[in-house]
């Protein structure tokens, strides 16, 4: 994994400029990191949604980011994706990164396979797209128009579009949020398998605690603009949601998020 190719996400403000200037040399990270964030602040109209946030993700690590809605978790993901540059602080991310959004965001005027190779350097041929689509089990819809896909199929196409870039960091923004329960289970399983095969670092933003515990090596809870809580998940894979240790982790995280599980357990 070529996770040592880091590129600072440049920022527009003066203070941030100083910080990024100093970062590559001064902040010599002892262990190679896929993501290194330090002192990150993002304000909307003077209100800091992200406030001096620290975050490190190891290469190949699967990290889930939980938090109440509006806590800034999606903002953090957008910053890591390079889509939001109004920031202060140090942000180091791999050059090769890919995003899958909650809505599949496929270009409706391009056939599925053209969507998959869109934006790839050079003139990628169809075989590249077909390989990625096969990996997500969608090779039978290579020539379909995106609007004829079902919700699950469209989301898989979006995943294929992310994977074909061979990312060192895969950013997932609630990618299963809009799927029905059965499709969601299948999609979660698929992401788990893809991650194990590819070995890229994954940051999954979600509001589903169970999903986080099911997939992640480490679950982070974001609150007040910082990572307020960190929970390692050392359960063996594939994980069993009926495992009492699973339930324990889930309950602990829910409590962190302000949901009392005692009533549920009774």
């Amino acid at each position: 994994m070529a996770t040592d190719v880091h590129r600072p996400v440049s920022s527009r403000t003066a203070q941030a400029g100083q910080a990024t200037q100093a970062s590559p040399a001064a902040h010599a990270v002892p262990v190679p990191q896929a993501v290194h964030v330090d002192g990150l602040t993002r304000s909307f109209d003077g209100r800091a949604v992200i406030d001096r946030l620290r975050l490190d993700v190891r290469p190949g690590e699967f990290v889930a980011l939980l938090g109440r809605s509006g806590c800034g978790k999606s903002t953090l993901l957008r910053i890591l994706a390079g889509l939001d540059r109004d920031i202060e602080g140090t942000v180091l991310v791999p050059r090769r990164k890919a995003v899958a959004f909650q809505a599949p965001r496929l270009m409706p005027w391009k056939k599925v396979w053209r969507n998959v190779v869109l934006g790839l350097p050079g003139k990628p041929d169809r075989a590249v797209a077909e390989r990625a689509l096969k990996e997500v089990g969608l090779d039978h819809r290579t020539d379909a128009w995106p609007k004829t896909l079902s919700g699950g199929e469209a989301q898989r196409a979006s995943l294929a579009r992310a994977l074909v870039r061979e990312p060192d960091l895969l950013l997932l923004d609630e990618p299963f949020g809009a799927l029905d329960a059965l499709t969601r289970i299948k999609a979660q399983r698929l992401v788990g398998e893809l991650w194990q095969r590819r070995g890229c670092a994954v940051l999954l933003v979600t509001h589903d605690v169970e999903e986080a515990v099911l997939l992640a090596d480490r679950v982070l809870v974001m609150d007040g603009g910082v990572i307020a809580h960190e929970q390692r998940v050392d359960l063996d894979r594939p994980r069993d949601i009926t495992d009492p240790r699973f339930a324990e982790l889930r309950a602990g995280l829910l409590e962190r998020l302000g949901v009392d599980t005692a009533a549920e357990a009774a």
Binding site: L83, A98, R105, M107, W109, L118, P121, K147
Partner: protein, 293 residues
């Protein structure tokens, strides 16, 4: 099938009601017949053509009985005959050729100018500031009112006619292409950015295809206006074309020729619409809402 409906007002005839309390399993069942079995269907195309045909027959009847004189409106039969004659001596086809040429030239120029301006103001903020305000102001001027000015500027040849069509075509196209560009889903643009598309790549793969449905709507409006502009332009100082044929016919009270010319205009309009529809079918295949097949 023979099922009799018992009228609810006569309880003595209704067996099920009587036997109800003793035998609760009996329910009054009524068959729901498929709608197709109720009446024999007249094909839709036949029903739709009946109206116009009846109107045509009435028109012919009024003309034959003398209620409608040829000075007011010629009979359908007469019009068909004159139409045939005009085609036979080549005057109608040559007039059509001239008119089509004018529309084609005006449309080509107007499309170029309209889309060009829309691209400038749609894609660049500076372009919007510079272009949009003047275009919106000019748009409110009724373009037909500019004919006298155009004649002074361009003389009485082909130039003022093409210019008036160009002007008419430009604005609807500008408005729709501009709205199409600005209406492209911001989420798709962001997705394109996250895929590493350059600025030009975004324009090519996201913005322009997204603006295409709007552009085609604009083209349809523009075509309608192009014919309208043609009629105006050809009735002032023309010495060829369909409009000229009509002006000439007016001077000789030839209502038959006038109606033939009107039919030709309608036919050309239909043709133009067909062309746009074909374009939409070709370019907008990706839209599931499209049902023009």
């Amino acid at each position: 099938m023979s099922i009799s409906h018992a009228p609810p007002s006569s309880p003595e005839a209704d067996i099920s009601l009587k036997s109800g309390p003793e035998n609760p399993t009996t329910v009054d069942v009524v068959p729901l017949l498929p709608s197709s079995s109720r009446r024999t269907r007249v094909p839709r195309w036949l029903r739709r053509t009946t109206g116009p045909v009846l109107l045509l027959l009435l028109w012919q009847l009024l003309s034959s009985t003398g209620a409608l004189t040829a000075d007011v409106l010629a009979s359908p039969g007469r019009i068909a005959q004159v139409g045939g004659d005009l085609i036979a001596d080549g005057s109608l086809t040559s007039a059509m050729g001239t008119s089509l040429q004018r529309v084609a030239a005006g449309l080509a120029l107007g499309t170029l100018v309209g889309t060009g301006l829309a691209l400038v103001s749609g894609l660049f903020r500076v372009g919007e500031d510079l272009v949009d305000a003047p275009v919106q102001m000019l748009r409110t001027v009724p373009f037909v009112g500019l004919i006298p000015l155009f004649i002074i500027w361009f003389g009485i040849g082909e130039a003022p006619k093409v210019a008036i069509i160009t002007l008419g075509v430009t604005f609807p196209l500008y408005l729709n292409v501009y709205a199409g560009i600005r209406g492209v889903d911001a989420q798709l643009i962001e997705a394109g950015e996250s895929l590493g598309l350059s600025r030009w790549g975004l324009v090519r793969h996201v913005v322009l295809p997204g603006a295409l449905p709007g552009a085609l709507t604009g083209l349809r409006y523009s075509l309608g206006i192009a014919w309208l502009a043609l009629v105006f332009a050809e009735q002032v100082n023309a010495d060829s074309g369909i409009g000229f044929l009509m002006v000439q016919a007016r001077d000789f009270l030839r209502t038959d020729v006038i109606v033939v010319c009107l039919i030709v205009y309608a036919f050309l309009g239909l043709l133009a619409d067909f062309i746009v529809r074909s374009l939409e079918r070709l370019l907008l295949q990706w839209r599931p809402t499209f049902t023009g097949r």
